[in-house]
Protein backbone atom coordinates (compact mmCIF):
# COMPACT_ATOMS: atom_id res chain seq x y z
CA UNK A 1 0.00 0.00 0.00
CA UNK A 2 2.74 2.45 0.92
CA UNK A 3 5.64 2.59 -1.49
CA UNK A 4 7.75 4.74 0.79
CA UNK A 5 8.48 2.93 4.02
CA UNK A 6 7.58 4.73 7.22
CA UNK A 7 5.31 7.30 5.62
CA UNK A 8 2.13 5.79 7.04
CA UNK A 9 3.34 7.41 10.27
CA UNK A 10 3.64 10.71 8.45
CA UNK A 11 0.06 10.45 7.14
CA UNK A 12 -1.26 9.44 10.55
CA UNK A 13 0.55 12.26 12.29
CA UNK A 14 -0.63 14.73 9.64
CA UNK A 15 -4.22 13.69 10.38
CA UNK A 16 -3.75 13.96 14.15
CA UNK A 17 -1.99 17.34 13.85
CA UNK A 18 -4.74 18.66 11.57
CA UNK A 19 -7.20 17.83 14.32
CA UNK A 20 -5.49 20.33 16.67
CA UNK A 21 -6.80 23.52 14.97
CA UNK A 22 -10.13 21.85 14.14
CA UNK A 23 -10.65 20.84 17.77
CA UNK A 24 -9.57 24.29 18.95
CA UNK A 25 -12.05 26.04 16.63
CA UNK A 26 -14.93 23.70 17.51
CA UNK A 27 -14.36 23.96 21.28
CA UNK A 28 -14.05 27.74 21.06
CA UNK A 29 -17.28 27.97 19.05
CA UNK A 30 -19.11 26.04 21.78
CA UNK A 31 -17.86 28.03 24.76
CA UNK A 32 -17.31 31.58 23.51
CA UNK A 33 -19.90 34.38 23.49
CA UNK A 34 -21.45 35.43 20.17
CA UNK A 35 -22.13 39.16 20.46
CA UNK A 36 -23.61 41.10 17.55
CA UNK A 37 -22.55 44.52 16.34
CA UNK A 38 -21.19 46.29 13.31
CA UNK A 39 -18.58 48.44 15.05
CA UNK A 40 -16.57 45.52 16.40
CA UNK A 41 -16.01 44.22 12.88
CA UNK A 42 -14.38 47.42 11.58
CA UNK A 43 -10.76 46.98 10.52
CA UNK A 44 -8.44 48.07 13.32
CA UNK A 45 -6.38 51.13 12.52
CA UNK A 46 -5.40 52.46 15.94
CA UNK A 47 -8.90 53.68 16.67
CA UNK A 48 -9.29 55.75 13.51
CA UNK A 49 -11.74 55.11 10.69
CA UNK A 50 -9.67 53.12 8.17
CA UNK A 51 -8.81 55.00 5.01
CA UNK A 52 -8.78 52.70 1.97
CA UNK A 53 -8.13 48.96 1.98
CA UNK A 54 -4.92 47.01 2.27
CA UNK A 55 -5.38 44.99 -0.91
CA UNK A 56 -3.25 47.22 -3.06
CA UNK A 57 -0.32 46.71 -5.40
CA UNK A 58 2.64 46.33 -3.14
CA UNK A 59 6.29 47.25 -3.08
CA UNK A 60 8.60 45.35 -5.45
CA UNK A 61 11.34 44.96 -2.78
CA UNK A 62 9.77 41.85 -1.30
CA UNK A 63 9.61 40.08 -4.65
CA UNK A 64 13.33 40.61 -5.32
CA UNK A 65 14.14 38.76 -2.12
CA UNK A 66 11.69 36.03 -3.05
CA UNK A 67 13.40 35.57 -6.43
CA UNK A 68 16.89 35.35 -4.95
CA UNK A 69 15.49 32.96 -2.34
CA UNK A 70 14.20 30.55 -4.99
CA UNK A 71 17.66 30.32 -6.58
CA UNK A 72 19.46 29.60 -3.33
CA UNK A 73 16.78 27.28 -2.01
CA UNK A 74 17.11 25.10 -5.10
CA UNK A 75 20.89 25.20 -4.66
CA UNK A 76 20.52 23.98 -1.08
CA UNK A 77 18.24 21.15 -2.18
CA UNK A 78 20.87 20.07 -4.73
CA UNK A 79 23.56 20.12 -2.05
CA UNK A 80 21.72 17.67 0.23
CA UNK A 81 22.26 14.48 -1.83
CA UNK A 82 25.85 15.59 -2.44
CA UNK A 83 26.42 15.91 1.30
CA UNK A 84 24.83 12.54 2.11
CA UNK A 85 26.95 10.69 -0.45
CA UNK A 86 30.10 12.76 0.06
CA UNK A 87 32.11 10.04 1.82
CA UNK A 88 31.82 7.80 -1.26
CA UNK A 89 32.45 10.51 -3.83
CA UNK A 90 35.81 11.91 -2.78
CA UNK A 91 37.87 14.78 -4.15
CA UNK A 92 36.22 15.07 -7.57
CA UNK A 93 32.79 15.72 -6.00
CA UNK A 94 34.36 18.37 -3.79
CA UNK A 95 35.79 20.20 -6.83
CA UNK A 96 32.47 19.90 -8.65
CA UNK A 97 30.54 21.32 -5.70
CA UNK A 98 33.15 24.07 -5.44
CA UNK A 99 32.45 25.04 -9.07
CA UNK A 100 28.68 24.78 -8.51
CA UNK A 101 28.81 27.01 -5.43
CA UNK A 102 31.22 29.42 -7.16
CA UNK A 103 28.73 29.94 -10.01
CA UNK A 104 25.99 30.69 -7.50
CA UNK A 105 28.22 33.00 -5.52
CA UNK A 106 28.80 34.93 -8.76
CA UNK A 107 25.02 35.18 -8.98
CA UNK A 108 24.85 36.41 -5.39
CA UNK A 109 27.53 39.03 -6.07
CA UNK A 110 25.62 40.13 -9.18
CA UNK A 111 22.37 40.46 -7.24
CA UNK A 112 24.25 42.31 -4.50
CA UNK A 113 25.87 44.77 -6.95
CA UNK A 114 22.56 45.31 -8.77
CA UNK A 115 20.96 46.27 -5.48
CA UNK A 116 18.50 43.37 -5.25
CA UNK A 117 19.56 42.85 -1.64
CA UNK A 118 19.13 46.50 -0.67
CA UNK A 119 16.09 47.48 1.33
CA UNK A 120 15.85 51.15 0.33
Amino acid sequence: MFVLNGYEYFLGFLLICSLVPVLAFVTARLVRPHPEGVERRITYESGMEPIGGAWIQFNIRYYMFALVFVIFDVETVFLYPWAVAFNQLGLLAFVEALIFIAILVVGLVYAWRKGALEWS
Partner: protein, 372 residues
Protein backbone atom coordinates in the same frame (compact mmCIF):
# COMPACT_ATOMS: atom_id res chain seq x y z
CA UNK B 1 25.63 -0.85 19.83
CA UNK B 2 23.04 -1.00 22.57
CA UNK B 3 19.66 -0.71 20.91
CA UNK B 4 17.86 0.48 24.03
CA UNK B 5 14.29 -0.36 24.95
CA UNK B 6 11.99 -1.44 22.13
CA UNK B 7 8.64 -0.11 23.34
CA UNK B 8 6.90 -0.77 20.04
CA UNK B 9 8.01 -4.40 19.98
CA UNK B 10 6.92 -5.01 23.57
CA UNK B 11 3.54 -3.33 23.06
CA UNK B 12 2.77 -5.30 19.89
CA UNK B 13 3.95 -8.50 21.59
CA UNK B 14 1.60 -7.78 24.51
CA UNK B 15 -1.40 -7.34 22.20
CA UNK B 16 -0.50 -10.45 20.21
CA UNK B 17 -0.28 -12.40 23.46
CA UNK B 18 -3.78 -11.15 24.30
CA UNK B 19 -4.99 -12.82 21.11
CA UNK B 20 -5.06 -9.96 18.61
CA UNK B 21 -3.67 -10.37 15.07
CA UNK B 22 -0.30 -8.70 14.43
CA UNK B 23 -1.74 -6.20 11.90
CA UNK B 24 -4.35 -4.94 14.38
CA UNK B 25 -1.69 -4.64 17.05
CA UNK B 26 0.47 -2.56 14.68
CA UNK B 27 -2.41 -0.22 13.85
CA UNK B 28 -3.28 0.07 17.55
CA UNK B 29 0.31 1.13 18.26
CA UNK B 30 0.33 3.79 15.52
CA UNK B 31 -1.47 6.70 17.24
CA UNK B 32 0.02 6.13 20.71
CA UNK B 33 3.44 7.76 20.29
CA UNK B 34 1.86 10.51 18.20
CA UNK B 35 -0.67 11.48 20.87
CA UNK B 36 2.04 11.24 23.49
CA UNK B 37 4.31 13.59 21.54
CA UNK B 38 1.44 15.99 20.84
CA UNK B 39 0.50 16.19 24.51
CA UNK B 40 4.19 16.48 25.41
CA UNK B 41 4.67 19.34 22.96
CA UNK B 42 1.66 21.19 24.35
CA UNK B 43 2.90 20.67 27.90
CA UNK B 44 6.29 21.92 26.74
CA UNK B 45 4.63 25.10 25.51
CA UNK B 46 2.87 25.60 28.84
CA UNK B 47 6.19 25.22 30.66
CA UNK B 48 7.89 27.56 28.19
CA UNK B 49 5.32 30.34 28.58
CA UNK B 50 5.59 30.05 32.35
CA UNK B 51 9.40 30.16 32.10
CA UNK B 52 9.19 33.13 29.78
CA UNK B 53 7.11 35.08 32.29
CA UNK B 54 9.21 34.07 35.28
CA UNK B 55 12.60 34.68 33.63
CA UNK B 56 11.43 37.94 32.09
CA UNK B 57 10.25 39.04 35.52
CA UNK B 58 13.58 38.05 37.07
CA UNK B 59 15.46 39.93 34.34
CA UNK B 60 13.46 43.04 35.18
CA UNK B 61 13.63 42.52 38.96
CA UNK B 62 9.93 41.75 39.26
CA UNK B 63 8.31 38.73 40.88
CA UNK B 64 6.14 37.67 37.97
CA UNK B 65 3.04 35.48 38.26
CA UNK B 66 2.69 34.10 41.78
CA UNK B 67 -1.00 33.69 42.68
CA UNK B 68 -2.22 31.09 40.17
CA UNK B 69 -0.95 27.87 41.69
CA UNK B 70 2.46 27.35 43.30
CA UNK B 71 4.91 29.91 41.85
CA UNK B 72 2.23 30.92 39.37
CA UNK B 73 2.59 27.64 37.51
CA UNK B 74 -1.08 27.55 36.50
CA UNK B 75 -0.87 30.89 34.68
CA UNK B 76 -0.36 29.28 31.22
CA UNK B 77 -3.55 27.24 31.70
CA UNK B 78 -5.41 30.38 32.73
CA UNK B 79 -4.07 32.10 29.61
CA UNK B 80 -5.19 29.26 27.37
CA UNK B 81 -8.68 29.11 28.89
CA UNK B 82 -9.03 32.86 28.58
CA UNK B 83 -8.17 32.73 24.87
CA UNK B 84 -10.64 29.88 24.39
CA UNK B 85 -13.63 31.79 25.81
CA UNK B 86 -12.91 35.09 24.07
CA UNK B 87 -15.22 36.08 21.23
CA UNK B 88 -13.98 35.53 17.70
CA UNK B 89 -13.95 38.66 15.55
CA UNK B 90 -13.58 38.38 11.79
CA UNK B 91 -13.29 41.88 10.30
CA UNK B 92 -16.09 42.72 7.86
CA UNK B 93 -13.63 43.47 5.06
CA UNK B 94 -11.48 40.37 5.60
CA UNK B 95 -11.52 37.17 3.58
CA UNK B 96 -13.01 34.90 6.24
CA UNK B 97 -11.85 31.57 4.77
CA UNK B 98 -8.19 32.57 4.45
CA UNK B 99 -8.44 34.40 7.76
CA UNK B 100 -9.39 31.13 9.47
CA UNK B 101 -6.97 28.96 7.49
CA UNK B 102 -3.96 31.14 8.31
CA UNK B 103 -3.40 30.09 11.95
CA UNK B 104 -4.17 26.44 11.11
CA UNK B 105 -1.50 26.39 8.41
CA UNK B 106 1.00 27.93 10.82
CA UNK B 107 0.33 25.39 13.58
CA UNK B 108 0.06 22.10 11.67
CA UNK B 109 3.60 21.90 10.15
CA UNK B 110 5.19 22.92 13.45
CA UNK B 111 3.53 20.03 15.28
CA UNK B 112 4.18 17.72 12.34
CA UNK B 113 7.93 18.32 12.65
CA UNK B 114 7.90 16.45 15.97
CA UNK B 115 7.64 13.29 13.85
CA UNK B 116 11.42 13.05 13.64
CA UNK B 117 12.60 14.48 16.96
CA UNK B 118 14.41 11.65 18.80
CA UNK B 119 14.39 11.41 22.59
CA UNK B 120 16.33 8.16 22.65
CA UNK B 121 17.58 5.29 20.56
CA UNK B 122 14.05 4.09 19.75
CA UNK B 123 12.13 6.94 21.30
CA UNK B 124 10.85 8.77 18.27
CA UNK B 125 7.68 8.40 16.23
CA UNK B 126 9.39 7.18 13.10
CA UNK B 127 12.91 7.23 11.73
CA UNK B 128 12.19 8.45 8.23
CA UNK B 129 15.06 8.17 5.78
CA UNK B 130 14.51 11.81 4.83
CA UNK B 131 15.01 12.77 8.49
CA UNK B 132 16.03 16.32 9.18
CA UNK B 133 15.15 17.38 5.63
CA UNK B 134 11.50 16.87 6.54
CA UNK B 135 11.86 19.59 9.15
CA UNK B 136 13.56 21.93 6.67
CA UNK B 137 10.72 21.45 4.18
CA UNK B 138 7.93 21.66 6.77
CA UNK B 139 9.35 24.86 8.21
CA UNK B 140 8.87 26.57 4.84
CA UNK B 141 5.11 25.98 4.96
CA UNK B 142 4.53 28.25 7.97
CA UNK B 143 5.38 31.50 6.08
CA UNK B 144 2.50 30.72 3.69
CA UNK B 145 0.14 30.75 6.66
CA UNK B 146 1.62 34.01 7.94
CA UNK B 147 1.31 35.63 4.52
CA UNK B 148 -2.24 34.30 4.24
CA UNK B 149 -3.16 35.71 7.65
CA UNK B 150 -1.57 39.07 6.88
CA UNK B 151 -3.20 39.44 3.48
CA UNK B 152 -6.63 38.09 4.42
CA UNK B 153 -6.99 40.55 7.31
CA UNK B 154 -7.23 43.46 4.87
CA UNK B 155 -5.44 45.62 7.40
CA UNK B 156 -2.32 47.64 6.65
CA UNK B 157 -0.48 46.57 9.79
CA UNK B 158 -1.30 42.93 9.11
CA UNK B 159 -0.21 43.13 5.49
CA UNK B 160 3.13 44.71 6.39
CA UNK B 161 3.63 42.23 9.23
CA UNK B 162 2.80 39.25 7.03
CA UNK B 163 5.15 40.38 4.26
CA UNK B 164 7.91 41.04 6.78
CA UNK B 165 7.38 37.61 8.32
CA UNK B 166 7.61 35.93 4.92
CA UNK B 167 10.68 37.94 3.85
CA UNK B 168 12.37 37.18 7.17
CA UNK B 169 11.72 33.48 7.23
CA UNK B 170 12.77 32.91 3.62
CA UNK B 171 15.94 34.92 4.21
CA UNK B 172 17.02 32.88 7.20
CA UNK B 173 15.92 29.54 5.85
CA UNK B 174 18.90 29.26 3.51
CA UNK B 175 21.65 29.73 6.14
CA UNK B 176 19.69 27.33 8.37
CA UNK B 177 19.45 24.67 5.66
CA UNK B 178 23.10 25.13 4.67
CA UNK B 179 24.35 24.65 8.22
CA UNK B 180 22.27 21.48 8.39
CA UNK B 181 23.96 20.31 5.15
CA UNK B 182 27.31 20.48 6.95
CA UNK B 183 25.95 18.30 9.77
CA UNK B 184 24.46 15.85 7.28
CA UNK B 185 27.81 15.62 5.56
CA UNK B 186 29.54 14.65 8.81
CA UNK B 187 26.96 11.95 9.61
CA UNK B 188 26.55 10.69 6.00
CA UNK B 189 22.84 10.45 6.70
CA UNK B 190 19.74 12.60 6.97
CA UNK B 191 18.23 10.50 9.74
CA UNK B 192 18.16 12.23 13.12
CA UNK B 193 19.04 8.94 14.84
CA UNK B 194 22.22 8.58 12.77
CA UNK B 195 23.11 12.22 13.41
CA UNK B 196 22.95 11.68 17.18
CA UNK B 197 24.74 8.34 17.02
CA UNK B 198 27.59 9.86 15.10
CA UNK B 199 28.08 12.20 18.09
CA UNK B 200 28.02 9.47 20.72
CA UNK B 201 30.93 7.50 22.11
CA UNK B 202 33.17 10.30 23.34
CA UNK B 203 30.77 12.04 25.71
CA UNK B 204 30.74 15.82 25.59
CA UNK B 205 33.86 15.90 23.40
CA UNK B 206 32.09 14.08 20.57
CA UNK B 207 29.28 16.60 20.18
CA UNK B 208 29.00 18.38 16.86
CA UNK B 209 29.28 21.80 18.45
CA UNK B 210 33.07 21.39 18.71
CA UNK B 211 33.42 20.40 15.08
CA UNK B 212 30.83 22.86 13.78
CA UNK B 213 31.19 26.00 15.94
CA UNK B 214 30.40 28.35 13.06
CA UNK B 215 27.50 26.18 11.94
CA UNK B 216 26.16 26.12 15.49
CA UNK B 217 26.11 29.93 15.71
CA UNK B 218 24.56 30.31 12.25
CA UNK B 219 21.93 27.72 13.08
CA UNK B 220 21.05 29.35 16.39
CA UNK B 221 20.78 32.85 14.91
CA UNK B 222 18.72 31.58 11.98
CA UNK B 223 16.51 29.52 14.28
CA UNK B 224 15.79 32.58 16.43
CA UNK B 225 14.90 34.50 13.29
CA UNK B 226 12.64 31.69 12.07
CA UNK B 227 10.85 31.69 15.43
CA UNK B 228 10.48 35.48 15.25
CA UNK B 229 12.10 35.87 18.63
CA UNK B 230 13.76 39.07 19.71
CA UNK B 231 16.08 40.50 18.36
CA UNK B 232 14.30 39.36 15.19
CA UNK B 233 10.65 39.92 16.11
CA UNK B 234 10.04 42.52 13.38
CA UNK B 235 6.87 40.93 11.97
CA UNK B 236 5.07 41.74 15.20
CA UNK B 237 7.11 44.76 16.27
CA UNK B 238 4.50 46.21 18.57
CA UNK B 239 5.82 49.78 18.51
CA UNK B 240 5.56 49.99 14.72
CA UNK B 241 3.00 47.47 13.52
CA UNK B 242 0.65 47.06 16.53
CA UNK B 243 0.93 43.25 16.36
CA UNK B 244 1.90 42.58 12.75
CA UNK B 245 -0.06 39.83 11.07
CA UNK B 246 -1.87 39.07 14.35
CA UNK B 247 -3.46 42.53 14.62
CA UNK B 248 -6.99 41.47 13.62
CA UNK B 249 -6.90 38.12 15.39
CA UNK B 250 -8.72 37.46 18.62
CA UNK B 251 -9.59 34.48 20.77
CA UNK B 252 -8.48 31.01 19.84
CA UNK B 253 -7.10 32.01 16.43
CA UNK B 254 -4.68 34.35 18.13
CA UNK B 255 -4.06 31.53 20.59
CA UNK B 256 -3.05 29.22 17.76
CA UNK B 257 -0.47 31.72 16.51
CA UNK B 258 0.81 32.02 20.05
CA UNK B 259 0.94 28.23 20.43
CA UNK B 260 2.63 27.86 17.05
CA UNK B 261 5.39 30.32 17.86
CA UNK B 262 6.15 28.69 21.21
CA UNK B 263 6.06 25.16 19.80
CA UNK B 264 8.43 26.41 17.13
CA UNK B 265 10.81 27.74 19.79
CA UNK B 266 10.78 24.43 21.68
CA UNK B 267 11.18 22.51 18.41
CA UNK B 268 14.12 24.62 17.26
CA UNK B 269 15.80 24.19 20.63
CA UNK B 270 15.25 20.43 20.40
CA UNK B 271 16.81 20.44 16.94
CA UNK B 272 19.81 22.41 18.16
CA UNK B 273 20.30 19.84 20.89
CA UNK B 274 19.91 16.95 18.44
CA UNK B 275 22.12 18.38 15.71
CA UNK B 276 24.82 20.07 17.77
CA UNK B 277 24.64 19.06 21.43
CA UNK B 278 24.58 15.29 21.15
CA UNK B 279 20.82 14.73 21.52
CA UNK B 280 20.14 12.15 24.20
CA UNK B 281 23.82 11.55 25.01
CA UNK B 282 25.04 12.13 28.55
CA UNK B 283 28.15 14.25 29.24
CA UNK B 284 30.17 11.06 29.73
CA UNK B 285 29.46 8.05 27.53
CA UNK B 286 27.18 5.64 29.42
CA UNK B 287 28.42 2.55 27.56
CA UNK B 288 32.04 2.96 28.63
CA UNK B 289 30.96 3.84 32.17
CA UNK B 290 28.92 0.63 32.30
CA UNK B 291 31.76 -1.50 30.98
CA UNK B 292 34.17 0.18 33.43
CA UNK B 293 31.83 -0.79 36.28
CA UNK B 294 31.51 -4.19 34.53
CA UNK B 295 27.71 -4.03 34.17
CA UNK B 296 26.25 -5.69 31.10
CA UNK B 297 24.60 -3.30 28.63
CA UNK B 298 21.50 -5.49 28.44
CA UNK B 299 20.76 -5.25 32.18
CA UNK B 300 17.10 -4.16 32.37
CA UNK B 301 17.53 -1.46 35.02
CA UNK B 302 20.48 0.01 33.12
CA UNK B 303 18.37 0.18 29.96
CA UNK B 304 15.55 1.94 31.80
CA UNK B 305 18.10 4.31 33.35
CA UNK B 306 19.70 5.03 29.97
CA UNK B 307 16.31 5.58 28.36
CA UNK B 308 15.05 8.02 30.97
CA UNK B 309 18.41 9.76 31.18
CA UNK B 310 18.22 10.21 27.40
CA UNK B 311 14.84 11.94 27.59
CA UNK B 312 16.03 14.09 30.50
CA UNK B 313 19.24 15.07 28.69
CA UNK B 314 17.41 15.98 25.46
CA UNK B 315 14.90 18.13 27.33
CA UNK B 316 17.57 19.65 29.56
CA UNK B 317 19.66 20.74 26.59
CA UNK B 318 16.61 22.06 24.77
CA UNK B 319 15.38 24.03 27.77
CA UNK B 320 18.84 25.45 28.35
CA UNK B 321 18.55 26.90 24.85
CA UNK B 322 15.01 28.13 25.56
CA UNK B 323 16.44 29.86 28.63
CA UNK B 324 19.13 31.42 26.45
CA UNK B 325 16.51 32.62 23.97
CA UNK B 326 14.48 34.24 26.75
CA UNK B 327 17.57 35.93 28.19
CA UNK B 328 18.52 37.17 24.70
CA UNK B 329 15.07 38.73 24.46
CA UNK B 330 15.85 41.04 27.36
CA UNK B 331 19.46 41.63 26.39
CA UNK B 332 19.42 42.67 22.75
CA UNK B 333 17.50 45.49 21.06
CA UNK B 334 15.39 44.77 17.98
CA UNK B 335 17.18 45.11 14.63
CA UNK B 336 15.78 47.14 11.74
CA UNK B 337 14.33 45.34 8.72
CA UNK B 338 17.23 46.36 6.45
CA UNK B 339 19.76 45.24 9.09
CA UNK B 340 17.88 41.97 9.43
CA UNK B 341 17.97 41.22 5.72
CA UNK B 342 21.60 42.40 5.43
CA UNK B 343 22.59 40.03 8.23
CA UNK B 344 20.80 37.15 6.52
CA UNK B 345 21.89 37.65 2.93
CA UNK B 346 25.21 39.45 3.14
CA UNK B 347 26.67 37.79 6.22
CA UNK B 348 25.05 34.49 7.20
CA UNK B 349 24.61 33.14 3.65
CA UNK B 350 28.27 33.59 2.55
CA UNK B 351 29.54 32.41 5.93
CA UNK B 352 27.36 29.29 5.82
CA UNK B 353 28.59 28.48 2.30
CA UNK B 354 32.19 28.86 3.50
CA UNK B 355 31.39 26.71 6.54
CA UNK B 356 30.00 23.98 4.28
CA UNK B 357 33.04 24.00 1.98
CA UNK B 358 35.35 24.08 5.01
CA UNK B 359 33.58 21.03 6.43
CA UNK B 360 33.90 19.23 3.10
CA UNK B 361 37.62 20.07 2.89
CA UNK B 362 38.25 18.99 6.48
CA UNK B 363 36.33 15.78 5.88
CA UNK B 364 38.61 15.00 2.94
CA UNK B 365 41.71 15.80 4.99
CA UNK B 366 40.75 14.23 8.35
CA UNK B 367 38.16 11.59 7.47
CA UNK B 368 38.20 10.05 10.95
CA UNK B 369 37.37 13.20 12.89
CA UNK B 370 34.62 14.28 10.48
CA UNK B 371 32.66 11.09 10.14
CA UNK B 372 34.73 9.27 7.50
Amino acid sequence: MNSGIDLQGSFIQLLVDLGLPVEVARVAWLPLPMLLVLVGATLGVLVTTWLERKISAAAQQRIGPEFAGPLGMLIPIADGLKLLVKEDIIPAKADSLLFTLGPAIVVIPVFLSFLIVPFGQNLLITDLGIGVFLWISLSSIAPIGLLMAGYASNNKYSLLGGLRAAAQSISYEIPLALSVVAIVMMSNSLSTIDIVQQQSGYGILGWNVWRQPIGFLIFWIAALAECERLPFDLPEAEEELVAGYQTEYAGIKFGLFYLGSYVNLVLSSLFVSVLYLGGWNFIIPIESLASWLSISESTPWLQVLTGSLGIIMTLLKAYLLVFLAILLRWTLPRVRIDQLLDLGWKFLLPVSLVNLLLTAALKLTFPFAFGG
